[in-house]
Symmetry: D2
Subunit: 340 residues, 4 copies
Amino acid sequence: MQLAMVGLGRMGANMVRRLAKNGHECVVFDRSAKAVEDLAKTPGVIGASSVEDLIGKLSKPRAIWLMIPAGVVDDTIKEVVPHLEKGDILIDGGNSYYIDDISRSKMLAEKGIEYVDVGTSGGVWGLERGYCMMIGGPEAVVKHLDPIFKTIAPGIGDIPRTPGRKPDTGTAENGYLHCGQSGAGHFVKMVHNGIEYGMMAAYAEGLGVLKAANIGKHVGEIDAETTPLRDPEHYQYDLPLPDITEVWRRGSVIASWLLDLTASALIEDPALAKFGGRVSDSGEGRWTIKAGIDEGVPTPVLTASLYERFSSRGEADYSNKLLSAMRYAFGGHLEKPHTK
Amino acid sequence: MQLAMVGLGRMGANMVRRLAKNGHECVVFDRSAKAVEDLAKTPGVIGASSVEDLIGKLSKPRAIWLMIPAGVVDDTIKEVVPHLEKGDILIDGGNSYYIDDISRSKMLAEKGIEYVDVGTSGGVWGLERGYCMMIGGPEAVVKHLDPIFKTIAPGIGDIPRTPGRKPDTGTAENGYLHCGQSGAGHFVKMVHNGIEYGMMAAYAEGLGVLKAANIGKHVGEIDAETTPLRDPEHYQYDLPLPDITEVWRRGSVIASWLLDLTASALIEDPALAKFGGRVSDSGEGRWTIKAGIDEGVPTPVLTASLYERFSSRGEADYSNKLLSAMRYAFGGHLEKPHTK
Amino acid sequence: MQLAMVGLGRMGANMVRRLAKNGHECVVFDRSAKAVEDLAKTPGVIGASSVEDLIGKLSKPRAIWLMIPAGVVDDTIKEVVPHLEKGDILIDGGNSYYIDDISRSKMLAEKGIEYVDVGTSGGVWGLERGYCMMIGGPEAVVKHLDPIFKTIAPGIGDIPRTPGRKPDTGTAENGYLHCGQSGAGHFVKMVHNGIEYGMMAAYAEGLGVLKAANIGKHVGEIDAETTPLRDPEHYQYDLPLPDITEVWRRGSVIASWLLDLTASALIEDPALAKFGGRVSDSGEGRWTIKAGIDEGVPTPVLTASLYERFSSRGEADYSNKLLSAMRYAFGGHLEKPHTK
Amino acid sequence: MQLAMVGLGRMGANMVRRLAKNGHECVVFDRSAKAVEDLAKTPGVIGASSVEDLIGKLSKPRAIWLMIPAGVVDDTIKEVVPHLEKGDILIDGGNSYYIDDISRSKMLAEKGIEYVDVGTSGGVWGLERGYCMMIGGPEAVVKHLDPIFKTIAPGIGDIPRTPGRKPDTGTAENGYLHCGQSGAGHFVKMVHNGIEYGMMAAYAEGLGVLKAANIGKHVGEIDAETTPLRDPEHYQYDLPLPDITEVWRRGSVIASWLLDLTASALIEDPALAKFGGRVSDSGEGRWTIKAGIDEGVPTPVLTASLYERFSSRGEADYSNKLLSAMRYAFGGHLEKPHTK
């Protein structure tokens, strides 16, 4: 079927390639004329020079997929909507807050325009692996778009069937799922990312403990400000992290795709020299925590992983200065200089 | 080659089966005569009626693998050692604390007995998948045992090679790894389990948030003790957890073996009715946290996941009573009765 | 000066008593006619039979203090506003979310009605100690109400002056403070409560560790599901908690008013037998965490203290069941029965 | 009575001053001859030029108080013991690990030497306020030293009696307490410091949230790596932190001595410009967490406060680099440069 794609970044462009390769007609637009021009060379892809041009090239009911930063979705919707008609479909495949989906879908419903929210996971690997999609919106519309989702999704592939799952029980096995009404797709994707933060932190902390397992080889000084290591003979290991992450891929309980990537990253650059350790967060982790708080569901692991990212960017600095100020006030403790 | 196995529980018995199937001779002992008798029916497996009988049936240098609870390893070593000779090998394949490996290996070295510590991951699935092994001890001894490790391990199988990894760079790709001197194997396994706790908690918390996404459907009462949900219309989702865990297996960033198991568990019993939620911990999580503390490496996620298990067993109860007592003292707040 | 008080619960009634005793005229209303009748017996206090009656008894500009649950403030404002005139003042002294102050103040400003938000701390002890107040709103209005605040506040009393603080530098030393524009009062009070949660948890956790210091006296069983205590001889202390909290009040670094209350609670009931350990939270803790997340400021301690309260109420149960389900799936681990 | 003091740092010297002023005879020694010389000018204080000299100047049974870094206590005991006789008393008033007290007391008991462990709180303020003491050891010996403890302690002073506490129920009201057998003093002090970490962190985090309450004034950029602040109008407050900490001292629930010190620190230097935010930890926090883990008592707040200190010193750096490496691997995310 036909699909319009607005936003030809890493993910948008690869989705279009995947669709076109499988016989869907794609009309594409991006603020960068170069990006449009490049992608339009792909057979089955038609470039558009403006939003208006894009919409003019679509047959009705139009289906327009937005694959753009969450921060510009509302402005883009405002730009697109005046050109749309009753029955047309807007799909937000980016990382919108599900609460925005709820209000957008209401607002668009008043104009008879359908709205579908799609949380998409797969990162830069999606062209090859396919994208896992979590979908929210009215059932009929989601069904209408099924050929698109089926093509973008990974399909069953060679991942074994879950024991106990009966065949033909929906699309989840194909890597896409209609999760519920408007916002459900991004809600599930939000939590997916929250879990992702937690898993990443679990690996990172564990590997941090392994990395420092030779700390007993370094003699410490004795003063009232420093805790001496009681048993330095317990920390004499120089552990081969690239091999350890590799061996865990093979039959261990913690095998995962994130571990695959970590093993690969450590083979390339065991010292991780090209990274400074300032870790961004792009919103879903924060929203997951807020949802947990609203629900009264404790999420200590997910929250800790978010806060590690905040701290990695220096955002705990004022609090830390306060701790030093208090220690100085009651104990005359001076900070130790940074000697690393 | 020949191997003696002491301890024929889930994991020990399956390892013997895997070894015997692949042509190794196994002499086996367990406190349960029935367990010995059953396993000795397997071709290539010889039963023993006592530790002494077991040792008498071994050719030298003897190799004895202990697969028993960590709490009885020292007693078993005491029982076995008087019958051993210089050059014999003891292998602890259970979940010992690596600090015990350090002292045991020293003590046994004085008698000329070799000691190898093996952290083993794979759970009840190891017979089929093979066991991932993390090994500590003297290099020559570990090399001598290589045929055993190679057979117990999963091998390369159909898990793709890590991009960037050169072929023939050690055994990690086969699912076993000599990590370093005595204790290194259990140190790495300890951290493996720490990570496992963190990952499990990440999934459990995330799914907990998804499960409660319909909380807005339940009207709350208004009083000074209860926080009203500000936006009940944001929490109206009845989310299909079995399908969501399934779809995440297909191309998402958080695909993993633990997720495979979770998807299967939710298919069988979506309400998890047979579980009460009292979660045990078997030591490695605690030890990982302690190692991180000794090293000065923060592990907030791993620690939070351990504490969730403590709390699940009611071990925070006194602290919680204190909180209620303080709230009553300053604010006259009475506890709300349990109405769930 | 004259003040109207709506809401004669613990705090509202005590504030009125404190004001009346110091020569202010108070007109009071509550849904409970009995509460009005009782309080109106106090010299200087005039009862009202309805909101309309209350407003009719006030001289202009009217100053009306609402001391009611956060959940009913908006409805009460709606009821009151039609009877008010330009220049009248509404004061919300309860635990409103500061975000509501921002919208309310805007809405009321359109009608020329002034709005002041007051975060009030002191609990049931305020009649005796005075109430600490954190105030938001337009400077002129806050100044106009200064005689009220000065009377409700504790005053300097016998709390020593902060070293380095110059005399006559504002009202903070008297126990009330204009913190900023609308919402600032409740914002500061919100964070105050967030800190309160953290401090309470710090004491509760520490006392929990002291309480369990005799755990080595209880022999544990050995199995693969239970972590044995390695050094039971290190946990043989039966510690006198009521005396310990008392001694900490005397010259220790952790002396505080919350500790005073804890010492008193433990004298009365060392086993805390009348508390079940289900700890409520009344919103400010949640909002503090959300503010920290919006700001990118990590608050791991405050968050952990909130989550302990969630867990104490059983709200982690589903997540815990999932953990058990996963452990069963990969390791065949069964839950241990509750034997406490 | 007579007391020998070894170690004339901040705390040791002030204790001697407090004792001498109240009529006790003090014989003092320190590695720094200058420190001995200075303190010996105080009436009632006798300097010693060596450990041997010190011991020679004491009447029997000798009582020797060690006020030295935990890391050198064992060496000092080794140096002192050969000169002691049956019935002499060694007191460790520093920050020793209580586990060392257990082994030291056993070792010394074999020689008939008494050992008392004293956890001491009060910091640089103890000269003026007195020191809060938590004491472990045999009852008779602790009783024998009562005049010393009574003098060093704050006494009842003007701190009000705890409601419900009967008079003459032990020494806790005087600011010192015999907590139990050997190690009990340092165990309780250890947990005291763990609580101290948690309280400090609670204030520091809360004040961090207040400090950033104007973050909505700073416009952010829009890209896929940065979470935009949804409601900048909610974060427009420039809050007066020195005044806020002051007002909280007056009748609020979170009044405490640590808050007093914080208010003073913020008056002197609101920007905390002289602190870098690298926060030391001196062992007790770590040991408290380990004790909680051994006991199975969750301490999420105390642990989070310890980890904040680790992170403040850059000890999470490797873990953070790993997070960046993973994000790059799955999403092509590049780190944002440090632009603060």
